[in-house]
């Protein structure tokens, strides 16, 4: 623009400067609006945290800071509920599920990406169909299945239907498709079979895909309510969401205790989130995974 109009350089410069300052103001306003919303979004969590440190009698007064914050509510929840057991159950189930998903899905993804075989398209479409089936519509027959297998109220009953996750197969297949095939060729010339190519070449290069799938499978399994609610009726092995949903009514108006149990229930995943924030966010952005 400045080149096209050499005879009026000052005016043009003034124009650009004005546009610049207008953009700057616009950006400031944007930032202000966004900060306001972000703070609104933080209020529920902050209020829950705040309430958990109050004595039960003072939770109804709408004051943020009280003079005598206390850990008593946490103590009562840890003593009076089975929350520590629920932690254990959730941890075991989510770990079994996440490991299971990574192992079976990466192997299947490897076959679909790297191997040639009859019925490959049939398998591909069969897996694709799995993405379309929401697990929730299968709860009735799956429950009967677990019942007749005699594994109700076991960790296996919770994990088994969560392990064959079709979308994870696709994530791995897509990722493997993006890895150069020359790597396999080199390994094959060295006499490596498929298993060694999978274990020794492909998987070590697939950390980003593995961590995305692990985190997702873990978080989803940890947060799932409907299915574990059905198959775990024994309070000893309930998961955190099932346990919290079951006892929530019994707290009555002891709000500090309720909030303490919510905070305790949230801590493990919030820790995971803070540690792996980048992987989680990039994983979502890359895959569009959703429960």
């Amino acid at each position: 623009m400045a080149v096209d109009a050499p005879e009026r350089p000052t005016a043009v410069r003034a124009d650009i400067a004005r546009a610049d300052s207008r953009t700057k103001i616009f950006n400031r306003v944007c930032a202000g609006v966004l900060i306001a919303f972000a703070l609104i979004w933080l209020i529920p969590i902050a209020w829950a945290l705040d309430t958990a440190f109050k004595p039960n009698e003072e939770t109804t007064a709408t004051r943020w800071l009280i003079d005598n914050p206390t850990f008593d509510a946490f103590g009562r929840v840890l003593r009076d509920t089975d929350i520590l057991r629920w932690f254990g159950s959730s941890l075991i189930i989510a770990t079994i599920t996440a490991l299971g998903v990574v192992i079976v899905a990466s192997m299947a993804g490897f076959a679909l990406s790297r191997m040639r075989f009859k019925y490959r398209n049939v398998v591909f479409w069969l897996v694709l169909a799995g993405i379309m089936i929401p697990g929730q519509v299968l709860i009735v027959p799956q429950f009967r299945e677990m019942d007749s297998l005699g594994i109700l109220n076991t960790f296996w009953a919770v994990s088994a239907p969560q392990i064959p996750t079709a979308i994870a197969v696709f994530i791995f297949k897509q990722f493997f498709d993006g890895l150069p095939r020359e790597l396999d060729e080199v390994a094959r010339v060295d006499g490596a079979g498929f298993w060694r190519i999978y274990r020794g070449v492909i998987m070590p290069l697939s950390r980003p895909a593995i961590s995305a799938v692990v985190i997702f499978a873990f978080v989803q399994s940890w947060n799932d309510l409907l299915w574990p609610l059905l198959v775990l009726s024994n309070p000893d092995i309930m998961t955190i969401p099932v346990g919290l949903a079951t006892v929530q009514g019994s707290f009555g108006i002891r709000y500090a205790d309720v909030m303490a149990s919510a905070v305790l229930g949230a801590i493990p995943l919030v820790a995971v989130f803070l540690l792996f924030q980048k992987n989680i966010v990039e994983g979502i952005a890359g895959t569009g995974l959703k429960g």
Binding site: T23, F26, C30, A31, L34, A38, W41, I45, A48, T62, A111, M115, R116, F117, V123, L126, G130, I133, Q136, V137, L138, I139, V140, P141, Q142, F143, R144, A160, P164, D177, G178, R181, F194, P208, A209, N223, L225, L226, L229, L230, I240, P241, V242, L244, A245, Q248, Y255, M259, A262, A266, V272, Q277, I280, V281, E282, G283, I284, A285, T287, G291
Partner: protein, 312 residues
């Protein structure tokens, strides 16, 4: 600047063409690799799916072994005539209508604003995304507390502003909007992150070039950002509609489907029929009908994506 150059999505278009390097078939080892997944998949997904379909034609009961007596299309006919089933479906659809537009528009606007921010993106990500990773039970406990009549933070806050709060979860007309508000707060972060990633894929020089031509930020948004985010929006909308249709947790914990069944979702209806009334066959039929609704949404999505790909 952090690019979301995704590790997980090598972005070359999806190649379904298969391996090119080896002409020879590796049938046996291939099925060795596929077996663990396929066995579990057939045993716990496809198998139950077919079993559910079969069951939906029988008067199967939860407390009796076997399929029970053959019912033909009886279960389906009953579901079609059941006002409770239709009410459940309607509540689910109503919830979807209430949640989808705000979850798309707010997520888009927030992402747009965050994309312009030079500093503190981590803070916005934290604020908007953290709720998404909380278990539904935790979210429910927090919001039941916020919604507590008269004593909750929302009621006292609104009172300070001189407004009277509705009886959030207790009023049949307000219960569903209240659940929607909770859900928007809970899951917005997911769409926010999807949009943020989409925004970062738009080349910066497009903005610079248009700014040179004198485009205002407002024009840039409407003429560049919105059209280029078309595909992201299709993805976000479909994922959102499907996620909203599958709603169960919030109602189950926060309102138990009440007051007066005003918030009982179709999934909870299936749950109640199958596991409280032991009518497994009927619940399986209702599940199948619900499945058809979800499939229809997915089919529409496929159609739109096809068209977008043709245009591109």
């Amino acid at each position: 600047m952090s690019t979301t150059e995704t590790a997980v999505r090598p972005r070359s278009g999806t190649s379904e063409s298969g391996p090119v390097s080896k002409p020879k078939s590796n049938g046996l080892p291939a099925f060795g690799f596929l077996a663990p997944f396929l066995v579990l998949y057939l045993a716990f997904i496809i198998g139950p799916g077919l079993y559910g379909l079969l069951m939906s034609f029988f008067d199967t009961s939860l407390v009796q072994p076997g399929l029970g007596t053959f019912a033909g299309f009886g279960n389906y006919a009953e579901a079609f005539q059941s006002s409770d089933f239709w009410a459940g479906l309607w509540h689910t659809v109503w919830f979807t209508i209430l949640t989808t537009p705000p979850l798309i528009i707010l997520a888009f606007v927030f992402a747009l604003l965050a994309d312009r921010a030079k500093h503190g993106r981590w803070f916005f990500r934290l604020a908007f995304f953290m709720p998404y990773i909380l278990p539904s039970a935790v979210v429910a406990l927090i919001w039941i507390f916020l919604y507590t009549p008269e004593l909750g933070l929302l009621d006292t806050g609104l009172a300070k502003l001189g407004m009277t709060a509705p009886n959030w979860l207790g009023d049949p007309n307000w219960a569903m909007p209240s659940l929607a508000i909770t859900t928007i707060w809970w899951t917005l972060g997911f769409n926010f992150v999807l949009y943020l990633a989409g925004l970062q894929d738009i080349p910066r020089d497009l903005y610079e070039a248009s700014a040179m031509d004198g485009a205002t930020p407002w024009q840039q948004i409407w003429k560049i950002t919105v059209p280029l985010l078309g595909r992201t929006t299709t993805l976000v909308v479909v994922l959102q509609v499907i996620a909203s249709l599958k709603v169960f947790d919030q109602m189950y914990i926060m309102t138990q489907g009440g007051p007066n069944f005003a918030t009982r979702s179709v999934l909870q209806y299936i749950y109640d029929e199958g596991f409280t009334n032991f009518r497994t066959g009927y619940a399986a039929a209702a599940s199948m009908l619900f499945f058809v609704v979800i499939l229809a949404v997915s089919a529409v999505w496929f159609g739109i994506v096809r068209r977008q790909q043709k245009e591109a």
